[in-house]
Symmetry: C2
Subunit: 283 residues, 2 copies
């Protein structure tokens, strides 16, 4: 596999957009996309990959380039193949701009169906002051060679997305994989792209929803569909692998929240996210 | 002050909406509102009060009654006085419906200005199963009489909203109030409405943004404007006072996140929220 770089990698090719002209510069745009089958788990296209795609479309529409806070509501399951993304700038000030986006596909009956609605505020990460007063601590994740790799699994049964990612789970949070969930609702691991592309803000949108659900460690099994996910991107990540820490504290009434923290190789907390997800099966 | 009840209280009167006819039943609606000066801090109308107002409008539009997850982006500062709320149902399934809302005001030049944009998914709290597997623990807040009450302050300098709420802060997290911030980025306290109205899901939208910012305990002073706030309502709250716990872990680059948990009198975690806010002044 050729070494990926930011702008020239599997992730960049699979989130490429074609802008329809003319559009209304500065206020709205329409993009054509092709959802790649390479980012699926079973029939479902990964929600983080879709968020990155929508994040790229908003970055190409709004006055500012970087997602500071982005919320996605997942309305119906996306399928690999053509999609249309419509974006709109709602407001722009000197330092922040807010917009919304929608991802649409044509269903099997030929009807246009909305898959995802997004609301986001963008700014410019490189313009922020350097102050950091974080009381949060990076998660302790064992070195790569002591972690459980998605590459250790049987390629015949691995989901398609496993070939696009380089995930290494802390064995202390991977009991669920051998039928012995730890009961803590935590998941920790290393996150990288399989072709070695370094992270950028768009890759962080993928990273917050790329590990197995922390709820697996609570005995939840099967699909845990995301209803809504909000990610805050707090800093441009340094090159190198990311550490991701997930936690679920409140599994109740058939729903759960999952919080993610993403730390870069310089021990900087670069992204925080929370999602509300639905539990289909437990125990 | 007359005892408030759900449906007949200061909070209900100040979040009352008048629906414009005809509208398009089931897909969109327009409401007139009057933002009450009773919920201000200085010139700013409290963000939680505004969220409750928008939450009520969506509850009157969507197929389902209760906010499960609601995100607001605060675009410009709202002022007391008339406002228009426009709502739209984006999608509805058997158990969930998703919609968006916008709050508009006319500015001093006569132009219509958007104040807030909201995206939310609603469901029916009373239809959820009873299972609860929460590892989170309710915050230890001292009894009312050992807490710092907003009523202890000088009414001449207290913000207007102080008269609408009954907030009691844990003295262990109120060092900022005497110029000695504790440095932990935590705030805990009791939350009630001043007229004794019991909480409901709409009041939870107020409760998540009603205490002083946790960042005050990190030495941040002055206004900490919310860029975006997302709240998950997880259960209908039992009658009686609520406990609210706030924490800020990552103050960096001029922004911070603030997480809130709201617990009811039956020790149930009824709401979780996170906001991204901007720091205007520190130290």
């Amino acid at each position: 596999m050729a070494q990926g770089t930011i702008g020239n990698s599997e992730f960049d090719r699979d989130t490429a957009l074609t802008r329809r002209e003319p559009g209304t510069p500065g206020t709205s745009a329409v993009f054509d996309a092709d959802l790649s089958a390479g980012w699926t788990i079973g029939h479902a296209v990964n929600g983080g990959y879709l968020l990155a795609l929508l994040g790229r479309a908003l970055g190409g529409t709004l006055r500012h380039p970087d997602p500071f806070t982005i919320t996605a509501h997942y309305l119906s399951a996306s399928a690999p193949g053509p999609a249309v993304i419509r974006t709109e700038q709602i407001r722009a000030s000197r330092s922040l701009s807010t917009g919304q986006a929608t991802l649409l596909q044509v269903d099997e009956h030929g009807a246009e169906v909305e898959r995802i609605r997004v609301l986001a505020t963008y700014g410019e990460l490189d313009a922020l002051p350097e102050d950091v007063r974080t009381t949060a601590k990076p998660p302790a994740v064992p070195p790569h060679e002591r972690c459980l790799s998605s590459k250790d699994g049987d390629p015949a049964t691995a989901p398609e997305i496993a070939g696009r990612l380089d995930i290494r789970l802390d064995p202390a949070t991977a009991g669920w994989a051998i039928g012995a969930p730890g009961g803590q609702g935590e998941m920790r691991g290393w996150f990288g792209l399989a072709d070695g592309r370094d992270p950028d803000p768009l890759a962080l949108l993928l990273a917050v929803d790329a590990l197995p659900p922390a709820a697996f460690e609570l005995g939840v099994t099967g699909w845990v569909p995301t209803i809504e996910l909000t990610a805050h991107i707090r800093s441009r990540p340094a090159p190198g692998p990311l550490r991701v820490s997930l936690s679920t504290r409140n599994l109740a009434g058939g729903y759960l929240e999952e919080d993610a923290e993403v730390w870069d190789s310089q021990d900087r907390l670069v992204a925080q996210s929370r999602q509300l997800a639905r539990v289909m099966r437990t125990f």
